[in-house]
């Protein structure tokens, strides 16, 4: 081995150490590194198969050194060196105590480095290196202790996570039970609310019912008294032998009996309706005269409001299609829809009347129509209308524009559910200042 070559090898070894400890100018590095350099360091990403990859590792290392203010010093332990000059190869095997000083403190590690040099173009160039720091485990060439440690750590982690999961599961179970309890309570509250909404609207009805029953009862009393008197008159006319008059009176009597019957039935249907309204829904569909139902509820709602507020009045318009077939509905539920809609209309026209005074003539109308197999029921008013921004909310439960205590906010929401349950639709048309129309449509079924 020539002295020059030996000297240059020592020199290269020193330069390489400087390179590895980030003390060498980056631009001068190519002088000592072969193009085909390869090697491994201690960390996972410290691996290079060519010069570019080698430089990538170094650049990162240099950056870190700068950022952390790292200073590296080392003490070299006895080393092994092997050269084969004829083949221009040299192997250096070294061990160091490496001291790394940084902002966070000083770390001293064992460092092992094997580097293989090749003599190329009159200089030694690094063609392979392997640097590592040993794990402090004795008599464990296969790192078994390390595995076990890792395994134990993993086991512990799994156990911790299992515990965690079990705890979370328990919490979830509790939350689920709580939600179930809350749901049950909500259902009970909902039932109560539906019932109280029913009773509230029944309260509004009561006065109307008294009036609506009193009227037919008056007729029943009047016509029966009258008929009694007519019988006396018949006797008189028989004695007078005025048989034409007898015939006329008989005709009147027949008419009166029909009227007694008619008004008796009217009172009967109102009482039944009221009882039905207060009872829980039977859910039984029956063939119903929708015109009769609409007429009945329009009157009840009207007189109910009148009884509460004497100053209230409104024109009632009914345009009921005489050819409307009977419809299969839960009459009691449908009655509630009608009552809610009509009450809302009355409320709206009343509000407008109070704002505008004498100049405003309130009108609430109910109409029915059979159109293309669809049964239409329309409740309209010339009230204030529903502002656009709340129109999408009116069917939501508990939404009300009425003052506290005036409405439950459930009327329209329940109505919506009832119409939906009948497979029908409910549409709202409203113009501010002009009024509102609610159109309910259900398909006609043959009786």
């Amino acid at each position: 081995m020539s002295l020059d070559k030996d000297y240059l090898l020592q020199k290269s070894k020193e330069e390489i150490l400087k390179i590895f400890t980030s003390e060498y100018p980056l631009e001068k590095i190519p002088e000592f590194i072969a193009e085909e350099v390869s090697g491994f360091g201690t960390t996972q990403d410290e691996r290079a198969h060519n010069f570019q990859e080698f430089m990538k590792i170094l650049v990162l290392q240099y950056q870190q050194s700068q950022e952390m203010g790292i200073e590296v010093s080392f003490v070299e332990k006895p080393f092994h060196q092997w050269q084969n000059l004829s083949k221009d190869l040299a192997l250096l095997v070294q061990e160091f105590d490496l001291s790394i000083k940084s902002k966070v403190g000083v770390n001293t590690i064992d460092f092992r480095l094997s580097s293989l040099f090749e003599w190329k173009q009159d200089s030694w160039k690094l063609i392979h290196w392997h640097g590592s720091t040993p794990v402090n485990v004795e008599k464990d060439a296969w790192h078994v202790t390390e595995w076990q440690k890792k395994n134990d750590e993993l086991k512990q982690k799994v156990e911790e996570q299992t515990q965690n999961l079990m705890l979370k599961n328990e919490q979830l179970q509790k939350a689920k039970e709580q939600i179930e309890d809350t749901l049950k309570e909500l259902k009970e509250t909902q039932d109560l609310l539906i019932q109280s909404e029913k009773m509230a609207s029944l309260g509004e009805l009561t006065a109307g019912i008294a009036h609506e029953i009193q009227n037919p009862l008056n007729f029943v009393n009047n016509f029966s008294e009258l008929s009694n008197e007519l019988l006396e008159e018949i006797q008189e006319e028989i004695e007078n032998k005025d048989f034409d008059e007898v015939k006329a009176i008989c005709q009147d009597l027949k008419g009166n009996l029909e009227k007694i019957n008619h008004h008796g039935k009217r009172a009967d249907s109102i009482v039944k309706g009221m009882l039905q309204h207060s009872r829980a829904s039977t859910g039984q569909k029956e063939w119903t005269d929708l015109n009769g139902l609409a007429d009945e509820y329009l009157r009840l709602a009207y007189h109910g409001l009148r009884a509460k507020d004497k100053s209230f009045n409104s024109e009632l318009k009914m345009d009921l299609d005489p050819n409307l077939p009977k419809v299969e509905i839960i009459a009691q539920d449908f009655g509630r829809v009608l009552l809610n809609m009509i009450n809302n209309s009355f409320y709206s026209v009343n509000e407008k009347k109070q704002q505008l005074g004498e100049s405003f003539q309130p009108v609430v109308s109910v109409s029915t129509k059979l159109l293309d197999g669809q049964i239409q029921l329309k409740i309209s008013d010339n009230g204030n209308g529903i502002p656009e921004e709340i129109r999408h909310k009116i069917f939501q439960p508990f939404f009300t524009t009425k003052e506290t205590g005036q409405g439950t906010g459930l009327g329209l929401s329940l109505s919506y559910d009832i119409i939906k349950a009948h497979g029908g639709t409910i549409k709202v048309e409203s113009k501010i200042g002009e009024g509102t129309s609610i159109l309910i449509e259900i398909s006609q079924k043959k009786e």
């Binding site: 009227n215 007729f219 009047n222 009258l226 009207y302 007189h303 009045n313």
Partner: protein, 123 residues
């Protein structure tokens, strides 16, 4: 005597016509019926200084009996019509309002026809 009966219940017509059968036949009374306040006003507007007694229900949709009474009083008709108001039993508030608006008589439902005839001096 011309009597205008105002009530939204159509059967009132039959009732009055039968109750006053004899009086109608003997032409002691002449009944006219209106089924709403508006209809009644239309009839009153075309009266030509004719004496008339108006018998009106209070509780009617649209124009109520009280509103009708107010309108009639504002018209200052000659001769002045006699206005009798009819309302449901025990309706103190309407009774007082009707009185303050100048109603001549006040009857409660169901109408006692004997009493009515006495008031009309038809007995």
């Amino acid at each position: 005597m011309k009597i205008l009966v105002v009530d939204d219940e159509v059967d009132v017509k039959t009732l009055f016509e039968q109750r006053f059968r004899k009086e109608i036949r003997s032409k002691a009374v002449d009944f006219v019926f209106a089924f709403s306040g508006k209809e009644a006003l239309q009839y009153i507007d075309q009266l030509n200084h004719e004496a008339i007694l108006i018998l009106s229900d209070i509780n009617m949709p649209g124009m109520s009996g009280l509103e009708l009474l107010k309108e009639i009083k504002q018209k200052e008709l000659v001769p002045k019509p006699i206005v009798m108001m009819i309302s449901a039993y025990g309706d103190e508030q309407n009774y007082n309002t009707a009185k303050s608006l100048g109603a001549d008589e006040f009857l409660t439902k169901p109408v006692d026809f004997k009493l009515l005839k006495e008031k009309l001096q038809l007995n």
